[in-house]
Symmetry: C2
Subunit: 360 residues, 2 copies
């Protein structure tokens, strides 16, 4: 195998190569201290500086207002599915959810344990091939928040614009955080598992507005209260140090690329190349409706499941890994997060054209 192949995995996903090289060096000996990165006490001045820098870079890149905390938690985005309603609902309080795929469905299931849940819109009967416009649903004014998944990794759909509601927004941005600018001040909570656009698996970044920290019911365990972690700078207990370090290094890389606005331009260019390849022939068929297409996960089908299997297999041989679609819809999927190199998209587009010509 060559030193690097093109890894289209939906997550854990490809990371910037310089970050991997830096991590490899620091793991053995961190900044010539004679101790490896993963052996550093989380209370050491060295690691405290790592965590602080990581937080500052996220704040700078996403322009997080001062009245928000940035937390590094464990348990994946899946743990936010219950932590959000556990801390913000209870006592018959209402939450409104938009159901646009597997991850919103799971969040809705957990939320029902803690409150009165209103599903204002669902695209399930259309195999989740789109997200709604603002006009297609209403949010009960009694709702504490409007919950939505900004990008649906499995179905390849994305909110091109964030919902325009008066209600406080809460969003799972696991698969598109930092891929485009976002007005954080419209959100109560933004959260994301790191393993798509930020780093390795093992840390969840939670951006939460200060005033929400005091809403938790009294019977919520200490570790499940946002305030516990906010009060201690995510060091109430031992944090996932290595994952936080890597997120910091990816943020540093992202800043060097010109930040989020520059990254969005590149992301649009990459996605447009692939959608153009899909639309230019009847051989490929996009899963998502055009106005809901994701810039991160490009889902498509070939004429038959047999051709899809052949495509994925020949692509793997040619050095394109991870193109198999999620088992719930089959087909193919190219995940092209921030760190996925543009030249890999150019080469895949060529490969697709070739394959279509030979097998069309």
């Amino acid at each position: 195998m060559p030193e690097r192949i093109y890894n289209f995995s939906p997550g854990p996903a490809t990371l910037p190569y310089p970050v991997l090289q830096e991590a490899a060096s620091d793991i053995v000996n961190f900044h010539d201290k004679g101790i490896g990165l993963i052996e550093l006490s989380h209370r050491s001045k060295e690691f405290m500086a790592v965590a602080e820098e990581t937080e500052l870079l996220i704040r700078e890149l996403l322009q997080v207002p001062d009245n928000y905390k940035v937390l590094f938690l464990q348990g994946g985005a899946s743990s936010q599915f219950f932590m959000i309603p556990m801390n913000l609902l209870g006592n018959g309080k209402k939450g409104t959810y938009i159901n646009t795929g597997t991850w919103s469905k799971k969040a809705i299931k957990e939320a029902k344990l803690f409150g009165d849940i209103d599903v204002a819109y669902s695209s399930e009967n259309a195999t989740f091939n789109h997200v709604p416009n603002d006009e297609e649903y209403t949010v009960d004014s009694a709702s504490e928040y409007l919950y939505f998944v900004s990008n649906n990794t499995i179905y390849g759909t994305q909110f091109a614009r964030m919902p325009n509601a008066d209600t406080m927004l809460v969003s799972d941005m696991s698969s598109d955080i930092l891929s485009r600018p976002v007005d954080v001040s419209r959100f109560g909570i933004i959260f994301a598992g790191a393993q798509k656009n930020m780093g390795p698996a093992g840390v969840t970044v939670v951006i939460i507005r200060d005033d929400l920290l005091d809403r938790s019911p009294v019977d919520v365990p200490t570790m499940l209260r946002y305030k516990t972690h906010a009060d201690k700078g995510s060091m109430f207990n031992t944090p996932p140090c290595f994952a936080i370090y890597c997120v910091g290094r990816v943020m540093n890389w992202l800043r060097k690329q010109g930040g989020i606005a520059a990254m969005e331009t590149i992301n649009r260019r990459k996605a447009e190349m692939l959608y153009k390849a899909i639309d230019s022939t009847d051989f490929f068929r996009g899963h998502a409706k055009k106005d809901s297409r994701s810039l991160m996960n490009i889902t498509f089908n070939l004429p038959t499941p047999e051709l899809e299997a052949q495509f994925i297999s020949e692509a793997a041989t040619a050095g394109f890994d991870g193109l198999k679609g999620h088992r719930s819809i089959g087909g193919c999927r190219a995940s092209i997060y921030n760190a996925f190199p543009e030249e890999g998209v150019v080469k895949l587009v060529d490969f697709m054209a070739d394959f279509a010509k030979k097998n069309g």
Copy 2:
């Protein structure tokens, strides 16, 4: 600084150097696949093999019976403080706790949210300088379990023998798991944060008896049910892949050292050298009572806080890092987990003798 210094940190702690070197190589390019370790999908056959091997090695080393699951969870040992009573108590059920330090106190606090908690013994009024004998407490026969912390990192005490109770045992073994043989069949749950004796921070190993998986009350969120993770081989959601990989490499190293029995012999030798150094002069004073002394964390004081500060500072200059005691009791602490090299203990003992002679 030299390539390696002696790192006495209580956790995250020193790891075997060959494991760091292996991780550094795999992070950039895993087994020549052209994808880095932390970029691998958790569903890839490569990572599935890593997780499986890690589990098998833990099973082999600890001789885990077939009717137990080995889970890789997130949230630290601190999350087990509430998950255990949340899943095993409720509805007025009783749990018995032995209070021997900071970590059992925290566990007791969380347990009270879920059941009727009986604290059968506490050494708090003796600054937690010992653990009890079996004769010093009784366990209510109505108790679902007897909870104890096998080794107290902060105070440097350890149960030389596990409690001999008819009740099912539940134990936080974060700071001494795999340091000595243990009869797993006497336990309902054994758990441990990895960052002391197993690997980096970011994964908690939970060993749980099968029949306990079905006891959770209906209102427990999906991610907080042990059964959720047991049914999916710890892959219900994206696991902390890197930390699991490292634990596997540490287990592989441990097997090469001769397994747990061989490791216990080395651990005894290391601890005895340090306790002998402490006992051989009035200059040093051990914190723990002799029959409760830990083989993992050796806590001691010098005649004055000023001399302690001087000792820690001169030790750091000489290449011995992390000797400062926990802020709750002050003084000094040498944490010498499995991966801490014996020659580092020999050298520290020499340094201590020298320091005592000069300043005594």
